[in-house]
Point group: C2
């Protein structure tokens, strides 16, 4: 292998971080209770609001996306509270595990791994179980590469009294999530996916309804007590020492995100998805997920050869491209290509080049992907004339 640093990280997170962002993360330490940080914290969180498409407060936790998910449960669920969890992969399962840890009375809606939830199924359950107080869903189920229809599910949940909580860890910033318009009360995400920064920070948005409920919940929590974070945020502080380096990084990442613009970012993600999908089709590698649910941030492939783990290992060791294997039900059966965050159409070409070369199918996938890319350019940049 050549230049280990040029190793292509094409997993569904952590994703490559732009060098400018890495360098910002290496800024000298400052006092987290001093003037500079007190100014920085609310500004950075405000700049996240357009990405969440919300007017709700956003809280930063020093932790992973799972910490944000647990914070949602710990602050919204008492032991015995009836909740509905939508499970179609490892991250739906994570909601289930957390809710179970907190003693919730859990109703599961299991939907097939590799497909999305049908909002009508959610509606049917809520009709039969109007006692449900909170619904937990996954926007992008990265274990299968399914993007769920949060707008559709939100429409249904909002017909009832239940709060709607969404894990958007591997989608936010790569795929539109209209928190307010779609009636999502709590959105959880993390720094290391489409927000272009290293892992170490998680974010939670909180609606007024969610806040009211949190005030009445008695489950034990301290580090994850979201209302305490909200209270401290009034003074521009966090209750506990935050991951300062990641805030420096995130500021620089937000500069990049704002410069590109959200619509362009979403379009780039869908283009990258389409390039990977046509590439796989050109190689006759079966895609796991059908179009309506195909994630813009990760694509899963279920090849008909048996040694998928060995295939991934060769791809990494011989060609320098690291994709992810399967999890849970799909362990050893699929591989997943991450295409989120700091990634471009050219990165999709290199990824496909490695995959097709490793299969001796030189050029096939690249040809298809390049055509998709070029069609996109013609359609979107048309007669711009360069």
């Amino acid at each position: 292998m050549f230049f280990f640093d040029k190793h292509e990280l094409r997993i569904p997170g952590p994703v490559p971080v732009p060098p400018k962002v890495l360098l910002a993360s290496a800024s000298p330490m400052i006092n987290h209770r001093g003037a500079e940080f007190r100014e920085k914290l609310p500004l950075v969180l405000d700049r996240l609001k357009p990405i969440f498409a919300t007017e709700n407060a956003i809280i930063a936790l020093t932790g992973s996306g799972s910490a944000a998910m647990e914070a949602a449960v710990a602050n919204l669920v008492n032991p015995g509270d009836p909740v509905l969890v939508l499970v179609g992969g490892s991250f739906g399962q994570r909601w289930l595990d957390i809710c179970t840890s907190y003693g919730a009375k859990v109703l599961e809606l299991q939907y097939p791994w590799g497909k999305g939830v049908d909002p009508l199924d959610v509606q049917a359950i809520l009709k039969t179980h109007p006692e449900i107080e909170v619904v937990f869903a996954t926007h992008n189920e990265s274990s299968t590469a399914v993007l769920n229809d949060i707008e559709g599910i939100g429409e249904v949940v909002n017909q009832f009294d239940a709060l709607f909580v969404v894990d958007a860890v591997s989608s936010l910033g790569g795929s539109p999530l209209e928190t307010d318009n779609w009636g999502v009360d709590v959105v959880c995400t993390a720094s290391q996916k489409c927000l272009l920064t290293p892992p170490g920070l998680a974010f939670v948005s909180i609606s007024q309804r969610a806040r009211s409920r949190m005030k009445k919940v008695t489950s034990p929590r301290f580090y994850l007590d979201l209302l305490r974070y909200e209270e401290m945020l009034m003074q521009g502080e966090t209750p506990y020492t935050p991951n300062i380096a990641n805030f420096f990084a995130l500021e620089e990442a937000l500069n990049l995100i704002e410069a590109e613009g959200l619509e362009n970012i979403y379009a780039r993600h869908y283009l990258m998805r389409d390039m990977i999908r046509v590439g796989m089709q050109a190689l006759e590698l079966p895609l796991l997920v059908e179009e309506p649910w195909a994630s813009p941030t990760v694509t899963s492939v279920r090849p008909d050869f048996s040694d998928v783990v060995g295939f991934c290992r060769r791809l990494e060791q011989k060609y320098g491209v690291e994709v992810a294997g399967g999890q849970g039900l799909f362990a050893g059966k699929i591989f997943r290509v991450g295409h989120m965050g700091y990634a471009t159409p050219l990165d999709m070409v290199t990824t496909l080049a490695a995959i097709e070369a490793s299969l001796g199918q030189y050029g096939k996938a690249c040809a298809a992907a390049e055509k998709t890319w070029d069609d996109w350019i013609k359609e979107n940049q048309g007669a711009s004339g360069c």
Copy 2:
């Protein structure tokens, strides 16, 4: 002000991070479930063992020191369990708040802010209350700048059945903590103090007795479920995406720590403490803490002028040295000078220079501190002849 970057951060954490460590933290991202990280994680944790002076397992959490403290409580305490908490400052109070959140039956031993716990007082309580199952103590109470006698308290606690849990967030790596020899079952610390790295990682060591108890505890926990971290560590992984950047940083920090050697590091901290103390005495600024408890990582001063907050602000804005004010009982009454981690005797001189200059007492504190330093050099490096 000149060169904002040369701003001297002399608070009790986060502390300045060596440039080499900052640069390491800016390394490109890697897969936290890939070969490189799986090799790195157990190696880094093993290298922490000499600093903890333990053979116990050490777990890394992505979070602050308070996350580590909550992990200790969540994994060791059921609602209603009788525990003893030693409280003589904000961080003792934090143990109390967390234990209360988890519904423990809490007995408090309040000791005066600015003094250390008397182990005999702990003994007396444990004799009267042999039902106590866990004792929570603070090694370095950074809100007051008191270093508690953990060895003495450990001797007492170990005469009973109780487990002994110590918050060593602002001491570990700056002051000896003999986890195994002193019978400490759980030690909590964090990355941003004497471990020379940015905030974002916390560490917990777990004795065999503590592990056995954890298996029986039913308090809800998910992100802070320490046994799950232990289990995943067998494969070189963490259950949730870790703060990868901080592991790169910590590796470089450990290189520096190992190169200097723990005995030299501890001696440097005590020398810095003594320089600050004689400097304050030369300025007739009263020290809050008496000798036996004077912390090697932070010193608190209780001046007789009234506007301590304004004094700290002037020190920062005019002279570029940032010290910390007081907390809780001592808010507005004391200031605290951090002298831990990436700091040298010369940094103590600059800190004292700013303080004495701001008081118009040019040279006085520096003179005293330099003498202390030079005496130390003569005693320790004697006839080394340079």
